[in-house]
Amino acid sequence: MIQIRGLTKIYDGVPVLSGIDLDIKKGERIAIIGPSGTGKSTLLRCLNFLETPEQGEYVLDGKSIDVQKAKASQIKEMRLRTAFVFQNYALFANKTARENIAEGLITVRGEAKETAFERADEILRDIGLADKADAYPASLSGGQQQRVGIGRAMANNSELMLVDEPTSALDPEWVDEVLQLLTRVAQARQTMLIVTHEMAFAKEIADRVLFMEGGRIVEQGPPEKIFTSPDDLRTRSFLRKVL
């Protein structure tokens, strides 16, 4: 569905991503694990053009986008095809839960307000927050905010959901409800790229696990293989520390 070729991102002369190649198939759920500062989040942010990579190519349904020469229309297409779930939720502070979910449908996709709100209410029921439709983010708990954040990503029916450390900013008491929701989204075969430090969660939902270090994909494979008998020494030493 999306092929990434030679993706390179450099911050202040230091490469954060060094020529990443990755093929994402439709319906595939990929978990990215690895130490902090190894480019996991940057990879997600580049796919959504929140960062402009220095080099590389995205291939969508056979059409190629050169990341350095991407036109505004191509950047928008990439953003419509991907939906981002942020570590810090990043809900629109001036909009209610319902409005947060409906905003993209109304403003970007040009849907009528009524149909967008109906869709938002449907999603709110689905994520168990129907009673919070008119609540502003400031009055929601961290867990509730992140569930709305996931709801916002679901609303756009994007082909690929990019989930960036969805529970890292949460108090421990809210982690479970967010992981449960994401598990449900994953079970519906939503194509996903998830950066996470929750290894049990990664094991449960992922079809494929990528281990990243130093801006490269060091090793990848099915979770049974990566978590039990990884080939690479670095993967082993990382997993020994976190498991």
Partner: protein, 224 residues
């Protein structure tokens, strides 16, 4: 010290109040135009639009760096000498243009600071769902910036109301101009100008009530 002529003051009040609508009208129109212009300047500066950014900076520097009275004289007495089509401009329009440009320069900086104060995550979330810069500004950043900038902007509105009194130097008979004429006839300068001062004061004080309403409305998203 002589006694105040209270009868004169009481009689003067209704005469002067007739000019209050003009004062408030000039102030309101100037405020609305200045807000629109200032928002535009602020966005140009935040997004760093090439050429326009530099031009906006020069504009702001000039209108903040020179006295309002000088600007009003330039518009009303000066520019028509250069451009003959401007000779038809009346004092009220010249005052509104002057007040608008002058205060837009100040307000642009307040609005710019307020936009830059909105958390970066709001920009990223807006961009990530595919919003254009204009959509992001209109739907996400400006509404949030408005809450932060509101108290300062309302202060500028108070300043605009008081600054309309300078329009009398352009021959406009607004509140101050009318008072000037009354005083010239009665020679009771103290009585006349204390009545004018009280009228301005009362108007500004009643704005404090409006200010609370506006601020409450804008903060409904952050009140728990």
């Amino acid at each position: 010290m002589r006694a105040l002529d209270l009868d004169y003051m009481l009689g003067l009040l209704p005469i002067l109040l007739k000019y209050l609508p003009l004062t408030l009208g000039m102030a309101s129109v100037s405020m609305i135009l200045a807000l629109l212009l200032a928002s535009l300047f602020a966005i140009i500066r935040v997004v760093r639009l090439p050429v326009l950014d530099a031009a906006t900076r020069v504009f702001i520097s000039f209108f903040r760096g020179t006295p309002l009275l000088v600007q009003l004289f330039l518009f009303y007495y000066g520019l028509p000498q250069l451009f003959s089509f401007l000779t038809a401009i009346d004092g009220i329009s010249a005052a509104i243009i002057g007040l608008t440009l002058h205060f837009s320069a100040y307000m642009a900086e307040s609005i710019r600071a307020a936009i830059l104060g909105v958390d970066r995550s709001q920009w990223e979330a807006a961009k990530s769902i595919g919003m254009s810069t204009g959509q992001m500004m209109r739907r996400i950043l400006l509404p949030q910036a408005a809450r932060v900038a509101a108290p300062t902007l309302i202060n500028y509105f108070i300043d605009i109301i008081k600054s309309t009194s300078l329009a009398f130097t352009l021959g406009v008979t607004e509140l101050m101009g009318a008072a000037q004429k009354e005083a010239a006839g009665s020679f009771l300068y103290f009585e006349t100008f204390i009545v004018v001062a009280v009228i301005y004061w009362a108007v500004v004080e009643s704005l404090a009530f409006v200010q609370t309403q506006i601020e409450n409305r804008l903060s409904k998203a952050v009140n728990r």
